[in-house]
Symmetry: C2
DNA sequence: ACAAAAGTGTTTCGACTACACCCATGG
DNA sequence: CCATGGGTGTAGTCGAAACACTTTTGT
């Protein structure tokens, strides 16, 4: 499928271009991505001749392939290095992050099955895998790369930064610790087709960074929700926990959210007030500066 | 150049893919971008069959076309909407930001000739153009879009955020105030070919955002420099001024910079100590968290 | 001497953190 | 009545912003 021509005196190629989607949802307290097969594969589709915009192309093929209507969509990165698919031809993939409401359909993979070390919420699984990975990394990093390793993994006094998910994946890859290579263990997660796991890591990094300065969580929430529920979703995506009283306070201080008047009695203790996203204020695209608290645990 | 085939039951196209570079340098206190012609055009080149990575392709064609060796390179965004070039065929452009040292060669355009409103450093030109643009925007925005307009332009108590350059360009575009359309004035800057001015705005936004959390300015500095010189370059890119004593203090507090021992007597008043970028600490890619102060003027 | 730029000390302010504690409900 | 989650008040901490002031050169 290569049609060389000449321009600027050098070879010009006409190549295949695909769109790849990382569709994220949160189911209970579990983030999931759309990916099926073994090994897992992200949904991908072509540019459509009849669609004017890339996003429209993306929305349509995701709808057709999976039945999901995407809310928020954001372009991530374009991958085009030679040999991505294991063969010589160049494949260009424009990757997107999309947010969708959870459902019970097939094809949803737990995000932290793919990148287990990114889930730092307290739990037996988290702690076990963590020590194993840290040991392997320390062994590999010593001594030249130990500054980088401890920075990325929040060791030696550095804070753990959720949004460095991609850089952590890249370090594991360099260290030969990811599932696609030989030294992989259970703690380094499930492999995917081609470089799809790197694309997922890219999406997670971007999502976590975006969370800190744009109100995108609400794309994952129903119309009315409690602040506790909102906190659970944020924590699920960030992979770590926040200080509850402060979270409650800060939500709404920015005018992000307004009470509906209703209450939810199903939460366990005292009934929680229901809120809705104050969308009126944010219909204008790209309004920034509306921070949600995101954990920066030590 | 369209070769339709079938997959997923829909049309798949093989398309032309180009790389587009926004190469930025700072000459004195003037930021410049590589763009020649009338109207101006960004350097663009093909994916190279023989280059493994996109960045290598980019570096090589920029070197060949312009003689410039790029330091820092970062992928920006992939543009592929139909009709970008004014004709029906789809053109995919993968855009990059590159930083280079200034020189006196041809082809350098002043960045703020293209986006004049982005330069808020005190000066006669800045103030004149600003009131004109603000008036036009207020007229267009009233009343539905005035929240967005005042947010983006730092009106009504909002701070001016340098990194929103792209969003400001997009608003001007929607308002029909950019040079490419009819209502343009001198204050809305010089037009470019196709959507190249949007790409420049994208690059400026990204560069300003990156400045805040990664030590990329040093790619634009010579080996030894004074803190005053560093401040001028940061201010040139940010388009606004910083509080001098604080800037001096903060530089170096993060261990970013170390004295060479030399001094520069050519600065006007008291001679300034020379510094060098503490590169040893930052050879590892993607070390984050090394903030440089960036203006957040009212 | 004085302008001009370099450089230091100190205070203020606001955002985020952490801790302590009260509230309302279901079992 | 007590466990559980919802909710509020308030003190501490840290870094950025602002202000005042000293130092060192060239002319």
């Amino acid at each position: 499928m290569e049609v060389p021509s000449h321009r600027y005196g050098v070879t010009v190629s006409t190549v295949r271009v695909d769109l790849v989607a990382v569709v994220v949802s949160v189911d209970g307290q579990t983030p999931r991505v759309l990916a099926a097969g073994a090994p897992r594969r992200l949904p991908a589709g072509p540019l459509r001749a009849e669609q004017t915009s890339l996003q429209a192309s993306l929305r349509e093929f995701v709808l057709e392939q999976t039945g999901h209507r995407l809310g928020f969509v954001e372009q991530l990165y374009t991958f085009a290095d030679l040999g991505r698919g294991g063969h010589a031809a160049r494949e260009v993939s424009i990757s997107y992050l999309g947010l969708a409401h959870a459902d019970t359909g097939p094809g949803w993979t737990r995000l932290y099955d793919l990148l287990p070390w990114e889930d730092r919420r307290p739990g037996p699984r988290a702690d076990a895998g963590r020590v194993e990975i840290v040991r392997a990394i320390r062994a590999w990093a010593r001594p030249d790369r130990s500054a980088r390793a401890s920075f990325l993994w929040g060791l030696d006094g550095h804070p753990w930064r959720p949004e460095l998910a991609l850089q952590r994946y890249e370090l594991l890859w360099e260290a030969g610790l990811v599932a696609e290579s030989s030294d992989a263990t259970e703690a380094t997660g499930e492999g995917m087709v081609q470089d799809h796991r790197r694309i997922v890591a890219t999406a997670l990094s971007r999502l976590r960074a975006t969370l800190q300065y744009r109100p995108v969580v609400f794309e994952l929430m129903p119309d009315a929700f409690t602040r506790g529920r909102l906190q659970v979703v944020v924590e699920a995506l960030a992979g770590s926990t926040v200080h509850t009283p402060n979270f409650r306070r800060l939500v709404g201080q920015h005018g992000l959210v307004e009470p509906t008047g209703g209450v939810d009695h199903g939460t366990g203790g005292r009934p929680a007030r229901l809120y809705r996203f104050h969308r009126a204020l944010f219909t204008e695209r790209d309004l920034v500066g509306t921070k949600l608290p995101v954990p920066r645990a030590r």
